[in-house]
């Protein structure tokens, strides 16, 4: 796993030198939460949605563009020639962005409490767990989809296609169960649906504990599938 440690260290060192990205990851979410708190007279109902979507969205954005850069700059080829397994490379990304997602979760936690009066009914640990599972899924998705882009602009073009429908259908505007069947079934295979469902339980105490653990189980499955797909597609990325 020393290869994973090297890759994780490289990811984090790169972010340290990139202040704009650091601000995007750490300051912008808190600022947006503040704006929501100022604009909505009762922001609590939308708090779970904001907290669910931010980390997922930013992790997807950073990994898809970061991985695309690795591929187009030639560093990925170089890493693949080195005596490091594909699993180690993806594990390195998971550790690096996992650290970042944890810090982000901390920022959102504080912002949620300060600006949205969020109480985290079922504890902070469950909140962080959900954020990390969402980040792992977004990471795998970002790596896989970055293969279909040749430029950073093209990678960003996937956002309205991949992220936005999830945000619209994933229980943010109306419950998934109330959607027409041809929208309900796609919504049931979207990670954000389960992120929102889990957050509603953790943040506002909505739903049952069974519903929460089902969401955790489904998100874990999404993470495993997305990361396994990322390992498999690394061969194509060469």
């Amino acid at each position: 796993m020393s290869g994973a440690g090297a890759v994780a260290g490289r990811v984090l060192r790169g972010l340290r030198g990139d202040r704009r990205t650091l601000a995007l990851v750490l300051v912008v979410p808190a600022f947006l939460v503040y704006l929501v708190g100022e604009v909505f007279p009762r922001p609590e109902p939308i708090a779970p949605i904001l907290l669910a979507v931010f980390v997922f969205f930013l992790t997807y954005l950073l990994t898809s563009i970061g991985f695309l850069r690795e591929r187009t700059a030639g560093t990925l080829s170089r890493v693949l020639v080195a005596p490091v397994s594909r699993t180690d490379i993806v594990a390195g990304y998971v550790i690096g962005f996992g650290v970042l997602a944890t810090v982000q979760a901390g920022v959102l936690l504080v912002a949620g409490v300060v600006f949205l009066d969020v109480e985290f009914t079922h504890g902070v640990a469950a909140f962080v767990l959900l954020e990390l599972l969402g980040a792992a899924t977004a990471l795998g998705l970002g790596v896989v989809l970055s293969l279909f882009a040749e430029t950073e602009f093209q990678a960003v073009q996937f956002i309205p296609l991949v992220i936005t429908p999830q945000v619209i259908l994933g229980g943010t505007i109306r419950p998934v169960e109330d959607l027409v069947w041809y929208l309900e079934y796609p919504a049931r295979v979207m990670p954000i649906t389960y992120l929102v469902r889990g957050m509603e339980y953790v943040v506002r105490g909505e739903g049952t504990v069974t519903r929460f653990w089902t969401a955790v189980a489904v998100l874990t499955a999404f993470s495993v599938v997305a990361l396994a797909a990322a390992v498999l597609v690394l061969d194509r990325a060469r």
Binding site: G9, G17, G74, T75, R78, V81, V84
Partner: protein, 249 residues
């Protein structure tokens, strides 16, 4: 840099296609001893594809590529550790410092005394005083030298360099060639590609590629003698001419 007995690069009947395009066809190449082997030819002749097949980054459509007797696409960790690779693109992290880049690759290759190895690599490429500079702030030549330091930090037995001197000024190019000769003399197999045909005269052996075929494989002196040309560029053009005339007959 020492070469184990089994140090061999063996390419046999290599064919590689990309959809309808044949990038390499029937390429044979064997390198057993320390030497600077140049893969020369115009753009699109198949040099980079051959290099990527040697490194296991591309799977042959037909034929075999073996390094130390192992298929290039299934090399074990010790074999991979024996290879250093400098891609055609800069292939370094611009948001890291020079030292951080070299240290990253040292760690990937499991170098024992990392700090000393990084110091040595930086000294070899003449960047020992720029180690704490971010790569984004360096000139193009310094970025190429950083990339070279990343390729040699683990003291490889086979050094594969894709267009290592492209974009460099003549003085820096000459400096690079001096380094390649030093490594070759120390026992390293240096396989490099170049589309500067004149520059290929610095190699011990030149493999001329054209449209994915090996047009000729010999020493620069033998080329000059065979074609009667003063430099390799003229010699290569004479070869092409002879080849084309033979093809139209």
């Amino acid at each position: 840099m020492s070469v184990p007995d089994a140090a061999t690069v063996a390419v046999d009947g290599l064919r590689r296609t990309f959809d309808d395009v044949t990038a390499l066809d029937g390429v044979d190449l064997t390198v057993a001893d320390p030497a600077i082997v140049g893969l020369a030819g115009p753009n699109g002749s198949g040099k980079t594809t051959l290099i990527r097949c040697l490194l296991g980054l591309l799977t042959p459509t037909a034929g075999t590529v073996r390094v130390f007797g192992q298929p290039a696409t299934a090399m074990d960790a010790p074999t991979r550790r024996a290879i250093g690779y400098m891609p055609q693109t800069d292939a370094v992290y611009t948001d890291l410092t020079v030292r951080e880049n070299v240290a990253f690759f040292a760690r990937l290759y499991g170098v024992a005394d990392r700090a000393a190895a990084v110091d040595d690599a930086l000294e070899v490429v003449g960047l020992e005083h720029r180690g704490s500079d971010r790569v984004a702030t360096l000139s193009g030549g310094m970025v190429r030298r950083t990339s070279l330091a990343c390729a040699v930090v683990h003291d490889p037995t086979i050094l594969v360099l894709d267009e290592p001197t492209v974009g460099l000024d003549p003085a820096l190019r000459a400096e690079m060639w001096d380094r390649f000769r030093t490594w070759r003399s120390a026992g390293t197999i240096v396989v490099l590609s170049t589309h500067y045909l004149g520059e290929a005269g610095n190699c011990d052996r030149v493999v001329f590629l054209r449209d994915g075929h090996v047009l000729a494989d010999d020493t620069p002196d033998a080329f000059r003698a065979a074609t009667g040309a003063d430099d390799l560029e003229a010699g290569f053009l004479a070869l092409l001419d002879a080849h084309d005339r033979g093809a139209t007959r």
